[in-house]
């Protein structure tokens, strides 16, 4: 059977439909069983707000806290694929700072908080590829722009002056200034982290598949 080639417009329409459906998250949203299967999570996990579903221009990125085991292979695979070294601090996806005591750091009641010194719950921070990306809008030299193919907000190293404004502007401080090149770096949606996650806690779902499941 001949397949109908999907266009970027189709993808964008699905993305907008998904965003309209989910608003600011998956909690309380009626999600089809087939989409839950694609996302690799249960309705309970989605409704509890444990699944971060990020509507990037190219695909739906899913990060499921329940399945993240803190192995940090996502961090290694990120820099291995993009920089040719293993450099967890520079990774564009990061779990270590959440792993021990959760994102908020040690609390007196830590046994009841996130992290391995607590309730075992944690997940990586990932770039959201924001539509109105603060990193992009604040950059004084306009070094951050959407990639024409993937839509990911990418940094033009030629233009970047390493000022760090993007790091400060990002609510999650996801861009990093490389200590050697003095250039900023951020997620480009390459998918290396997803391909190497040994528990499928991370998933990239093409919008075509989301459209079929919606």
């Amino acid at each position: 059977m001949a397949t109908i080639k999907k266009t970027p417009l189709d993808r964008e329409l699905t993305r907008r439909q998904f965003m309209k459906l989910t608003g600011k998250g998956l909690a309380g949203v009626a999600i089809s069983g087939s989409l839950l299967d694609l996302m690799g999570c249960t309705l309970a996990q989605a409704e509890a707000g444990l699944v971060d579903a990020i509507a990037t221009p190219d695909f739906l990125l899913v990060a499921n806290r329940a399945k993240c085991t803190g192995c940090q292979r996502c961090e290694a695979n990120c820099t291995l694929a993009n920089d040719g070294d293993v450099h967890p601090y520079m990774a564009r996806i990061r779990v270590r700072q959440n792993m021990y005591f959760g994102a908020d750091g040690p609390q007196d009641d830590h046994p009841y908080k996130d992290g391995i010194y607590g309730n075992w719950f944690f997940a990586p921070d990932t770039c959201k590829q924001c539509g109105d990306a603060p990193c992009m809008s604040i950059c004084p030299v306009k070094a951050i722009a959407p990639d024409p193919v993937t839509g990911a907000r990418v940094i033009d190293e030629e233009k970047c002056v390493g000022c760090g404004a993007c790091v400060q502007a990002c609510p999650w401080n996801m861009p990093r200034i490389d200590v050697e090149t003095r250039k900023s770096t951020k997620c480009i949606n390459c998918g290396a982290c997803v391909a190497g996650c040994p528990t499928s806690a991370l998933r990239m779902i093409p919008w075509e598949d989301v459209a079929a499941a919606l």
Binding site: C68, C71, Q97, G105, S200
Partner: protein, 703 residues
């Protein structure tokens, strides 16, 4: 640019609170990890030094493969002098968690801790920034509280390796802990405590450079798709799966459809099928909580965790809220294997809370939480064995070593009622230097020395203690694992051997005949006996044993996890279940840019064994290793009195055959066949002339 290695070592002096960064290149020929750490100990800690001396050092070391992204590359070796075994010779702790990665990302292949502080300190390392910080406020705290406070004082995500009160109080059986439950044993807690070092914290922000990152990625994919199985590289699942030809209920590939992480956030996560070729499902293969605690543990499994960059998640991470209500401790902890048991078998009964068996599970967790918080080291079950030995026969021995007041102050009936607070009472005494029970944390060799008048030789040689030998190391996959082969992998060390190369094969879950065909192809006919149906020694078995320890030392140096590697077998039927033993060398070439073959890398690992053997001889002051070091426990020959050695149904060995085994083993390593010590020719073959010279000067080379 240096690939693989970081090129520097960090020297920390606790006496004057100074540090120095030095090049590490001269140690590259010792690979890394154990090799580098042992060599530094050889060069810098003179033979005859006692573990408690200021001159003793602690060396943390990683290797070119550490944090390379290779599966299971998050391991660290820490070397020092043993406080708990005969001769006080060189010992290594092999620690997982995140310390290895963070230390390497700080820029160091090794960290040497020397001298001694007058007051408690901890050390914070953030790349080039090194700070000696006051730890007076942390002295006396548990490992959890120390970690929490140091994290508050540094940066969220910092890795903290710390001792607890057991180390501070100089218990020989004490450890360091990182990441709540990742333990570095070997009596390290005492050496930290002796130096007034509460903790060392790493916060690494540098990267590891790789000569051929594309090739490293290809190797990662190859291992993940074609070679790796589950914990201990078990390559068949416990129950039939749609893709599997074999299944084995004793396998650690416990994940399967219907098996869950039952206490996962938001509801159970199904482990499901994870057929070979699916790298994004490998982490579901090991549901270790159920393996260790039984089916009752499934619904309390929050998730599986483990070491950095390891896809085999072997740490059963549990959440048992009932524990808080019943016993007053938050029921959250993680561990694996004997770490999930500790001293809990001391109880004669358990108090179930909701269902049959949950009391025993909680007892194991409770004991693990207590030990890890106190930094008390169980030494692969030795502490439990010793306590049990002294409690048997209505506390006969216990009454002899405790004062009447001490004995009366302990409510021993709690053992009979399953009251877990009994562990609080016992552990409080064990780590209290003023209490007689403290003496039982000296390690079996010293317990025997102190109480020989009431113990005789029976204690050290008993099956109840299950030591590999009177030197005091616990048997760790010995004669019960491939007969003489397993036993030989125990005797080289000054503690329990921790060699998993052989047990990973015999425990793989594959039928014996498939194992035998692959192993005989590698080492010769007769290399692998049937389980509990042994035969006399032969050269193939000796070569198999040598392979076991050479690869173990390679992994402890490279570093990789020997609890998973080498990839002797594969889960793939289309490979006839054959693994690939050249992968480590392929990684070494891709990471460092060198031209490494399997043989060359094995030779480099064997060199480390030669050095380790020489260091043991120098410290022992005798080269008669056969009669002074490699002596194995009587129970190994005397068990199953109704059965003869080499008959079906027993794993006992035979004395004359064992002596022949040693002779063949010594020959395989180029050692004097009578004494078991390296010859000058062998040492020089491995470029260890300086070691040979020192042995000769001390009259410790064979004639």
């Amino acid at each position: 640019m240096t690939y693989g290695w970081m090129g520097n070592l960090l020297r920390l002096n606790l006496t004057d609170k100074t540090f120095k960064v030095e090049p590490s290149k001269k140690y590259f020929s010792y690979i890394g990890g154990k090799g580098i750490a042992n060599r530094i100990m050889y060069e810098e800690v003179p033979a005859g030094t006692k573990p408690e001396d200021v001159a003793n050092k602690i060396v943390f070391a990683v290797g070119p493969n550490t944090a390379s992204s290779a599966p299971t590359s998050g391991r660290l070796t820490i070397s020092t002098l043993s406080p708990f075994t005969k001769f006080n010779a060189i010992v290594d702790a092999h620690m997982g968690g995140d310390t290895a990665t963070q230390m390497k990302c700080c820029g160091y292949d090794a960290v040497i801790i020397e001298g001694s502080s007058d007051t408690p300190v901890y050390i914070y390392v953030e790349d080039d920034k090194v700070e000696f910080r006051d730890a007076t406020h942390l002295w006396g705290t548990t490992t959890t509280i120390a970690t929490k406070e140091i994290t508050k004082e540094t940066e969220n995500g910092t890795n903290v390796t710390t001792i607890g009160p057991a180390g501070e109080n100089l218990c020989n059986l004490s450890c360091v802990i990182n990441g709540i439950a990742h333990c570095g044993g070997a009596g390290l807690g005492k050496i930290f405590g002796q130096k007034k070092l509460k903790a060392i914290a790493f916060n690494g922000k540098k990267g590891v450079q790789l000569a051929d990152p594309k090739r490293v990625k290809e190797l990662n994919d190859y291992v993940m798709k074609d070679l790796i199985g589950s914990n201990n590289n078990h390559v068949v699942p416990t129950v039939p799966q749609s893709w599997s030809e074999y299944d084995n209920p004793r396998s650690r590939w416990t994940g399967h459809p219907g098996m869950t992480w039952g206490a996962a956030e938001g509801g159970p996560v199904v482990t499901g099928e994870s057929a070979p070729g699916q790298p994004t499902l490998v982490g579901f293969r090991c549901q270790k909580a159920v393996f260790d605690f039984g089916a009752v543990a499934e619904k309390y499994t929050a998730k599986m965790t483990g070491c950095t960059f390891c896809p085999i998640r072997c740490y059963a991470s549990m959440a048992v809220p009932q524990m808080e209500k019943k016993w007053g401790v938050p029921g959250r902890h993680a561990n694996t294997c004997l770490g999930n048991r500790r001293e809990s078998p001391l109880f004669l009964t358990y108090q179930d809370v909701e269902e049959e068996g949950d009391g025993k599970m909680m007892a194991g967790m409770y004991s693990a939480i207590l030990d890890d918080d106190m930094g008390l080291w169980d030494n692969y079950g030795e502490l439990l064995a010793t306590l049990s030995y002294f409690m048997k026969d209505d506390y006969k021995l216990m009454k002899q070593i405790l004062t009447e007041e001490e004995f009366a102050a302990i409510d021993w009936t709690k053992r009979e009622t399953g009251d877990l607070t009994f562990l609080n009472d016992i552990v409080a005494c064990l780590i209290n230097p003023e209490h007689s029970l403290y003496n039982l944390t000296m390690g079996a060799y010293y317990v025997s020395e102190k109480y020989h008048d009431i113990l005789g030789d029976d204690y050290l040689h008993s099956q109840a203690m299950a030591l590999w030998g009177p030197l005091g190391g616990k048997r760790h996959h010995g004669n019960e694992c491939a007969a003489q082969v397993g036993m030989l992998t125990n005797i080289l060390y000054n503690r329990d051997g921790m060699c998993h190369t052989i047990v990973n094969i015999t425990g793989s879950g594959l039928p014996y005949d498939i194992q035998r065909i692959i192993i005989e192809d590698l080492f010769g006919v007769g290399a692998l006996d049937k389980p509990a149906n042994y035969t006399p020694i032969n050269e193939a078995k000796v070569k198999f044993a040598k392979f076991g320890v050479v690869r173990q030392v390679l992994h402890d140096s490279f570093t990789l996890c020997n609890w998973v590697w080498p990839m002797t077998f594969s889960p793939r039927k289309e490979r006839q279940y054959k693994g690939d033993l050249s992968v480590e060398a392929q990684y070494m070439s891709a990471i460092t840019g060198g031209d490494w073959t399997e043989e060359r890398l094995d030779d480099a690992a064997e060199r480390i064994i030669q050095l380790h053997r020489a260091m043991t001889i120098l410290q022992a002051g005798t080269n008669d290793m056969r009669n002074e070091h490699d002596v194995i426990s009587n129970f190994i020959f005397d068990m199953d009195p109704d059965k003869a050695p080499f008959t079906e149904g027993t794993v006992k060995l035979e004395r004359e055959d064992w002596q022949k085994t040693l002779t063949l083993f010594y020959r395989e390593f180029g050692w004097d066949e009578k004494l078991g010590c390296p010859t000058r020719a062998t040492l020089e073959k491995f470029d260890l002339k300086d070691v040979a010279d020192e042995l000769e000067a001390k009259g410790l080379l064979p004639a």
